[in-house]
């Protein structure tokens, strides 16, 4: 039952990511697109962790929290260049 629920949750995450693409593509401002990208990154992290459990290959957990940190750095870089106009 838990395996089936995990598969269902993974499928739901994929569908919700496709819905999030609406806001990323047609968002009126750059900030809306950044919020959408943030949600997409959260979904990707959950997908990685669920796949790591379904495949019984827990090396992917390292990938998950490295992905959290690198997504944070990427968003901070984009926001800094939006706010200041340069990165330094």
């Amino acid at each position: 039952m838990i395996e089936l629920s995990l598969r269902g949750v993974f499928l739901g995450l994929v569908v919700l990511s496709l819905v999030t693409l609406y806001r990323i593509i047609w968002g009126p401002h750059a900030s809306d697109r950044i919020v959408g990208t943030n949600v997409l990154m959260t979904n990707v992290i959950l997908g990685i962790v669920i796949l790591a459990h379904l495949f019984r290959n827990y090396t992917y957990l390292d990938v998950a929290y490295t992905y959290v940190l690198s997504s944070f750095i990427g968003t901070v870089c984009v926001l800094k260049s939006l706010g200041k106009g340069r990165l330094s």
Binding site: L13, S31, L46, V49
Partner: protein, 124 residues
């Protein structure tokens, strides 16, 4: 007993998916940037925490549980900071808000409309 435990874990998983669903619906439906950030900041953080909590009961070893806890702590601390950064950048850039937005100054005049409270309580 085992069935109850499995039902509890499934409940955690599906409620996590429900909160992420609410976050996505809010992202698509709400009218301006700041209210969209309400939906994503709270519901995504809560949904991630619930799904990771359900997975913590399933993975086997100690190291895996610690790694999941670290992942959850990162998400729970990074998500509010990210919301704060996006909000301050958008506020500086002058992103528009819905026309019915009100502004209220509680810095110079604490508790507007609630003068029954004493001022000494405020300036502690």
């Amino acid at each position: 007993m085992k069935l109850v435990w499995e039902l509890f874990v499934c409940f955690l998983l599906w409620s996590g998916l429900f909160f992420i669903f609410v976050g996505t619906v809010g992202l698509v439906r709400l009218p301006d940037l700041y209210t969209r950030m309400h939906a994503t900041a709270k519901c995504d953080t809560l949904g991630t925490g619930l799904v990771l909590l359900a997975l913590m009961t399933q993975v086997g070893g100690f190291v895996e549980v610690v790694k999941l806890i670290i992942c959850a702590a990162f998400v729970w601390s990074i998500n509010p900071v990210m919301t704060h950064l996006i909000g301050s950048t958008a506020y500086i850039r002058g992103t528009e808000y819905v026309p019915t937005t009100f502004f209220r100054d509680c810095y110079h005049d604490p508790y507007p409309g609630r003068e029954d409270l004493r001022r000494e309580d405020v300036n502690a």
